[in-house]
Amino acid sequence: MDVIALSNLHYRWAGQSRDTLALAELRVRKGEHLFIRGASGSGKTTLLNLLAGILTPASGSLTILGQGLQAMGSAARDRFRADHMGVIFQQFNLLPYLSVLENVQLPCEFSARRKQRAGKVQASARRLLDHLGLATSLQQRAVTGLSVGQQQRVAVARALIGSPEILIADEPTSALDTDTRDGFLQLLFQEAEAQGSTIVFVSHDPHIAGHFPRVVDLGELNQA
């Protein structure tokens, strides 16, 4: 079953005469790890916002988990994202005024589905953090005391809590050095596989492409 299926998708920013994004077809199967490579300006950000339901395509079809996103209102898309997607940013993923543990539990505060799937939310958060190699002593700390690598692992735990079907990662390794980066990717894959989550990973960095079974070059895919 396809987790993500899009065809003839066009998107154009308001006031522009040309399409920013024009994709003929893209399908992502359940549990797949997809790497989308693209230089800056290639439409990566736009694609991620479309997949996350922040933006809606001008034309074409976009189906995620069997549901057509165009048919939903913006509140329904927000709800859909909260229930089915975990998001990891480039950096500064965490709220500075919450502890590590509180940051991880955040998605369960906004999504009843993920809360229910997480079971005992705090225990679930602790387990994920343990798996991602964050010592118990770090878990109660303020996030500002963590290194960037540690912060990104906390972000992974937060994206994975409540087992969302899709994990969207927007250049999460760009602020990490090579060793940290490789360790980070390994943990990310391991935890995503344990939950059966599909990964859509966007980056400009060709070096990490080797870690992924499937690589798509957005420059080639995008016909705009």
Binding site: N49, A52, A75, D78, V87, N93, Y97, E109, R114, D170
Partner: protein, 419 residues
Amino acid sequence: MILFKLTLHSLWNRRASLLLTLFSIAISVALLLGVEYIRKEAKSSFLNTISGTDLVVGARSGPVQLLLYSVFRIGNATNNISWQSYQDIAANPLVEWTIPISLGDSHQGYRVLGTNQDYFRHYRYADKRLLAFAEGKPFAGVFDAVLGAEVARKLGYRLGDNIVIAHGAAATSFTLHDDKPFTVTGILAPTGTPLDRTVHVSLEGIEAIHIDWVNGAKVSGYQVSADEALQKNLQPKVITAFMVGLKNRAAAFRVQRDINDYKREPLLATVPGVALADLWQALGMFETVLRIISGLVVVAGLLGMLTTLLSTLNERRREMAILRAVGAYPRHVFLLFVLEAGVLAVLGCLLGAMLVMVGLVAARPWVMAEYGLYLSTWLPDSGDALLLAAVAGLALLFSLIPGAIAYRRSLQDGLTVRV
């Protein structure tokens, strides 16, 4: 619930800059409540200047003017009334007591009031309180004087000191009754009324110092010494006004009509409570001005909060994007700002109320000593609660602006803010 928790944590995280905002709200709220308190106290103090007196009688003029010179020692009587008329009315069977008042002289700017012992027996103020002596006793002799609390304190008089009374009511007078000094025999306890600024002497004393005067001027070559004056008949022929206590208050309007219709002399009787209320109404403008000013200060305080909220919008863009990524709706982002303003306003109101409470307790001994006013403990009444609710409401209204901006931005930005 999670939004409230996020608001509190986020506020705490930015506490250094928000503390100043909180203080400016607290101070403006304290000012608002303080002005309201002073307004109420001033009104009750004003309306309490005289109590238990059913009628004030003087020469025919206007009721407010009569009240001003007889009770507040402001301005002068247009005319005197004869002793004969006073005796006539005092003899009315409905009248229980009277207090004669003779004005026109002063001491260092403080009015001198000639009266008799009945003043200390019957004059009441505030909640029907009688006058109390801080030191000494009522005047007994012709040249004895009883000082109001402020007169004694400001001029540093003690019992036994001699004072000279000046002719006329101005602060600097060139015609002194220096041949007939008075001796201080008593000092009154503070009352918080114009009485504190009054020198009380006997009617006979007033008569004695004017015995060698004719038509309001000293006659050269005609001198009567203090001792000689005591030998003469010091029964006054005129007084300025008098106060009346009735056996039955219900008769007030009847006696008032009788006095106003008095055939031998044009007189005016007024019910002090009614005239006081009229006078306060006339002064009411300053109340409104005070309230407008304190209202504007509150608006200024809240505008300060609005500025702070607006200035944090940019640095909080990342925070909003994170919240959106974990599943917050744009309306949650909007609510965060409204909640933040709400928390600030409520804390500001509480802090402001505490400032008023503590401030009043701290100022109490000083105000008591300086003005003879007892500052009652401040507890918010329903009017104050309404004011506080209005402050909070206004704060929420202001917060709609940054809230709406953040709402719109979070729709546009979505998950992609690179700060």
